[in-house]
Symmetry: C2
Subunit: 308 residues, 2 copies
């Protein structure tokens, strides 16, 4: 594939940025890839594994001359880092971000953005429970959705160009209004994460069931929750703090619904439980038919080895 | 490996029974395997795929002459089926079950059990979201825990024999008091399932987010919940109705904890959220170190294919 940008600057070098670096390099989509990370350890790792061509201690240095700047830091620090880099952005450059929340990013980043720069907020719906520069892999975005929430008056050519980059990395693209994005994500990602964190926390506290038992007998169900609850704490703290309204809204719906099922259990209403559990099966089928998950039992994960 | 039982009768031919049949056959652990299923379609499938040597419409016929009878029906019908088979059980036979709840099974099954028969309640902590006779596979129990909750006065030889069968299928065995079993399972399996069902139900109801969006953008988190919420509705209805007290107890703890986190989000208490999310990470590490899950990112599941 041919080069889409001259110089891409990745601000923050975690799972998403390191996957982008690998995918961009694998497909030859940029002439040069540079990065910035706050931690000296991350910077050293990035150089050691050849993730980027150059790495900078200051974000302002990394963005110089870049025609694409990608903000890959936690949502809570996007505003501050934009303030730092703004005076150093090249005129005509595109700035995008990969934050899981869009309204808060637009409010924090927008005011600092120079007029001569195209700011196009984005969000790849892709990730794993692992983090850091070593966690990335080039195929992370294949067949995943990369949503853009362009602001009014966005330059169509700049939007097409950044879309062509992520599509070349294997992603599907779509556009959405920022507030609707935040509501959809509260349903399909943010609230499920909070619930998984909560359930794992409950198990950890329960004194009548030992910590050892929780780990040893972690059956299907809980085991899957622990994967989600192993996600990056800083990223998720910021998600909940910045998508507060939508998360609290969906949490309210969730609690109502949970109380209804809890009451059915208490009253012994088997018919209601059976009907409910039958309906939820259909959604799984839809997701598999849409190519968004595998139909292999238990995700087709490897059977844990046993020493014989 | 050598034969452990002469004739094994599997009562019910779903995921667990069909996995047992395959594992027993693969390792030559029984002289003969017979089965019973209520549905004619299941019986026809079992014969077609060669799951068992013979299949019976009536459970009472299947158990005749069997030295091991395994009850693999939903917890809610264990009592009734035991009443049917009791007069036909061979003296000296062992009867075990694979129900996810133990106190209710003991209360329902125990009173019907003839004195000359060894009743040893059991529960394999293994399964997938799929059900029926075609869903089974021989390695389902490898490195999984198979818990037994033996009653007072259980014959040690009969217990050792049934343990040796499930160990030969690859399982690890352990003993536990029935009520403690039900509490542990409420934490590591039953409550997580109810929560997953609830979250998927909420997404399904939400009119401001379309059904199509929920499926299309099902991100990590929600996607995993849908797998759990695709589990067998009859089995899970019975689990909640029969492990009512422990499930309601853990649900109460869960809701308390969720309200605390919800309040932290509302108040903007980032420090509390960050600390909480950091602690839950450690549990995941414990489960992986205990060999109960893979450390591959996203369970190592296959990247969905994309038409190019």
């Amino acid at each position: 594939m041919s080069q889409i940008y001259e110089k891409v600057a990745l601000i923050g070098l975690g799972l998403i940025a390191s996957s982008m670096a690998r995918a961009i390099r694998a497909k030859g989509l940029a002439g040069e890839i540079v990065g910035h990370a706050r931690s000296a350890e991350t910077r050293a790792t990035a150089l050691e594994i050849g993730l980027v061509d150059a790495v900078y201690e200051r974000a302002a240095e990394a963005v110089q001359g870049a025609d694409l700047v990608v903000l890959c830091v936690p949502v809570g620090v996007m505003g501050k880092i934009t303030e730092e880099i703004a005076p150093h952005l090249a005129p005509g450059a595109t700035v995008t971000d990969v934050g899981s929340v869009k309204r808060a990013v637009i409010d924090a980043v927008g005011p600092h953005m120079p007029e001569a720069v195209h700011f196009i907020p984005g969000h790849p719906l892709a990730g794993t429970e692992q983090s850091g520069p070593r966690a990335g892999f080039a195929t992370l975005f294949v067949n995943r959705w990369w949503l853009f929430t362009p602001l009014e008056g966005t330059d169509p050519a700049a939007l097409t160009r950044v879309k062509s980059l992520v599509e070349a990395m294997g992603a599907n693209t779509d556009e959405m209004a920022p507030d609707h994005h935040d509501l959809v994500l509260a349903v399909v990602s943010h609230t499920p994460h909070l619930i998984a964190y909560t359930m794992v926390g409950v198990a950890d506290h329960l004194r009548r069931v030992t910590h050892e038992e929780v780990i040893k007998y972690s059956a299907t169900g809980f085991r899957d929750f622990t994967r989600i609850a192993a996600s990056d704490p800083v990223m998720w703290r910021d998600v909940f703090l910045t998508n507060k309204e939508a998360t609290l809204d969906i949490l309210g719906r969730f609690t109502e619904e949970l109380f209804m099922l809890q009451r059915a259990i208490r009253m012994g209403d088997g018919e209601m439980l059976h009907d409910y559990f039958t309906r939820t099966r259909a959604i799984r089928r839809g997701i598999i038919e849409a190519g968004q998950d595998t139909d292999a039992p238990d995700f087709g994960r490897a059977v844990p080895k046993k020493d014989e």
